[in-house]
Symmetry: C2
């Protein structure tokens, strides 16, 4: 059902300090940093031999990342897997008894559709599933 | 410096129940389960499109996994990256100011050499580095 690992999300307090570790010391490639105002955070994506690390910094004390750090400290926040059909995946996970945070997929970064499964029903792991954006059909004009 | 993701280690209470989730519901391939008496745990390795999940169950209350679960509950325990030269990596990480749990590499599963970096110096992430076993040189008799 899960196709492959998309990324590992890590909650950090200071993005520049974390980039100094992951990019400068550990040698990962920093692909870019994007603001996510809807989720009140900014996200830096790094590549390490095809695996991705997503550093997440809260931009508001109400952000889920701020609340996570307040409760558990900095560290691994979630793990995200790519799926082919996120709606079919969510239906199957629900049928298997898992508790969904998002009953319907919602827009993520870069046009992906994403949804979270509650860690309560997944052995303490906050699991994200994500469907890659479909290529736009050609208009015939290009 | 880090070559690629080796696995994500997840602390679990009940290996069969966790396999029912990762193998049967999420569809990962269970490559095998090994006992690690030195670390007082058993480890089940699963593959998901080339990424690996390592489910870790304590076999003694003194195991680091038992202590982790007692303190933080079940969930993601560490993330492991493959490196080409673990001794050079540890020297570089130490020079960069990171605090090593293992100053020298120690034997891991399947002949790998492994070492951990303390989460205190890595933004709350327990980081493992691992060097793949070298192929034995041919004896000339085969």
């Amino acid at each position: 059902m899960l196709k492959k690992l998309a990324h590992i999300g890590i909650a950090v307090k200071d993005l520049e300090r974390s980039l100094a570790l992951y990019r400068d010391v550990l040698g990962m490639h920093h692909e870019g940093t994007s603001a996510e105002p809807d989720r009140q955070l900014e996200a830096a994506m790094l590549d390490c031999g095809g695996a991705h690390i997503e550093l997440l910094r809260a931009t508001s004390p109400d952000s889920v990342i701020a609340r996570f750090i307040e409760k558990r400290g900095e560290g691994i926040h979630h793990v995200c897997f790519e799926v082919d059909d996120i709606r079919a995946t969510l239906a199957a996970l629900k049928a298997a008894g898992l508790q969904l945070v998002d009953e319907q997929p919602r827009p993520g970064v870069g046009g992906w559709l994403v949804a979270f499964v509650h860690p309560r029903s997944a052995g303490g792991v906050l699991l994200e599933v994500a469907e890659r954006p479909k290529k736009q059909p050609s208009t015939g004009s290009d």
